[in-house]
Amino acid sequence: MRKLGALVAAATLMITGCGSSSGGSGSETLTVFAAASLTESFTALKTSFESAHPGTEVKFNFAGSSALVQQLSNGARADVFASADQTNMDKAVQAGVVDGAPSVFATNRLTIAVAPGNPKGITGFADLARGGLTVIVCAPQVPCGSAAEKVERGTGVTLRPASEEQDVKQVLNKVQTGDADAGLVYVTDAASAAGKVGQVDFPESAQAVNSYPIAVVKDAPQAGLAKQWVEFVLGEQGRAELQKAGFGAP
């Protein structure tokens, strides 16, 4: 009987522990919705954030920025939203799903991903319009695609892509499998696949630099922690980790 009592007490403790949101000792979960291109750097930051905030667990939902905005507008519970471009953050602000003004924490630019060793001898953006090359880009509706479009307009070079993919990782994949000769991806994606793809930087990518804004989600279950995560990403450690992944300073 005493055993049973202890069990009940323990169970009650556990339940209340999980339920309390402000208790220092209970486990707390911070939910971060972040653009797919942040996968590597945010995952790396998670470890140091968790050790700096004992009892806290960071959970991610990585996807295309616009998909994330949609999930948030349809009532998905989250604490932080980090977008891969201003457009989608603006949409989130308009939909009233974020709290306060978003801050830009990183920038990203395009590069050309090619097969290792660059067998097709691609040296710049204009080469992508060459005949006989299978080139893959992102669809104009997603951030990496709108950046590609900006470069096309800026350079006057018109690409005839074999496919317009829905996110940048798909473009990278098709270069990795060898089904595409070249793909327009972010420098950070090319860096994450270093060894499996080659990278040809081109100066015109400066015409289409994406900024990455981050914001606390409205009515976040862990608003306090959410602010700390945002500050952490904007801070020195965040800066260093993002730089390591190839992101530019805001």
């Binding site: 616009s66 299978t134 669809a139 509706q141 496919s163 317009e164 829905q166 499998t177 089904d179």
Partner: protein, 258 residues
């Protein structure tokens, strides 16, 4: 029929109908016409109808012989083969697309051969869309035909051959006519499945306007930018599918009531 069946039956119906109602409620129906007559939408619709028609023909050309072989052959291991044929039904379409890519992609063994000998590249072409659609749709045809063949039995065929008909004549004059009703419903099913194909297409064929971007892919692209137009396109797809099924309904019913 026990009346209690109405309860789960109603639930089942609600599961199918209510989400569509959800779409309708969420849509600004006045804007639908302008959203679905965009160039991109019409191009995607035309591509969808054309590729689905061709892949249905491919399903028939390949699936009819396959169904007959599966239903009539007494070769050992035919049961295993039957399971293999049904694989596209259970494979996640994206995996199907990857499998096709590993076969026909530039580094896939058949794709490599095609590239080296004929200079042909299959992925990112309309042909790739048709292959992907045929891959996922063919089991529907084979299953309905094989079911019809098995439940019909082979006594007509046996009688025909005892009367001296050669195998090819039996197939042409007896088996095929017996199959016709089931072929109708099977073809409609395949067409509908091909029309809705998404995962294998986007993985294997990619997404480019006018070449590989079918209506389901256009819906996906639009969902990133403008949900309203994505929903309008989805409604268009639903209408086309319902029309196709409704038009072919008499034959399909015949197939089941035969």
């Amino acid at each position: 029929m026990p009346w209690v069946l109405w309860v789960p039956a109603t639930l089942a119906l609600a599961l199918v109908v209510l989400p569509v109602v959800g779409l309708l409620v969420r849509t600004d129906l006045r804007r639908v016409p302008e959203l679905i007559v965009s160039d991109a939408a019409l191009t995607a619709l035309r591509l969808s109808l054309e590729t689905a028609a061709v892949s249905t023909l491919a399903c028939i050309a390949l699936g009819v012989p396959l169904a007959v072989v599966l239903a009539r052959s007494t070769v050992r291991g035919i049961r295993v083969l039957r399971a293999v044929v049904l694989l596209p039904l259970v494979l996640p379409p994206v995996v199907g697309g990857l499998a096709l890519l590993y076969l026909l992609g530039r580094k896939g063994f058949l794709g490599y051969l095609l590239g080296v000998t004929a200079g042909v590249q299959v992925p990112f072409t309309t042909a790739a869309v048709i292959i992907a659609q045929t891959f996922v749709a063919m089991p529907f045809l084979v299953v309905s035909l094989e079911g019809a063949l098995r439940s019909g039995g082979d006594r007509y065929e046996q009688i025909a051959s005892t009367l001296g008909a050669r195998p090819w004549t039996v197939f042409r004059r007896v088996t095929l006519p017996l199959l016709l009703p089931a072929l109708g419903s099977g073809a409609v099913l395949s067409f509908a499945r091909a029309l809705g194909e998404f995962g294998a297409t986007i993985t294997f064929a990619g997404s480019y306007e006018g070449v590989t971007r079918t209506l389901p892919l256009e819906v996906y692209v639009q969902a990133e930018a403008d949900v309203d137009s994505a929903v309008a396109l989805a409604l268009l797809l639903i209408v086309v599918a319902v029309v196709v099924i409704a038009v072919a309904r008499p034959r399909a019913l015949e197939g089941t009531a035969r």
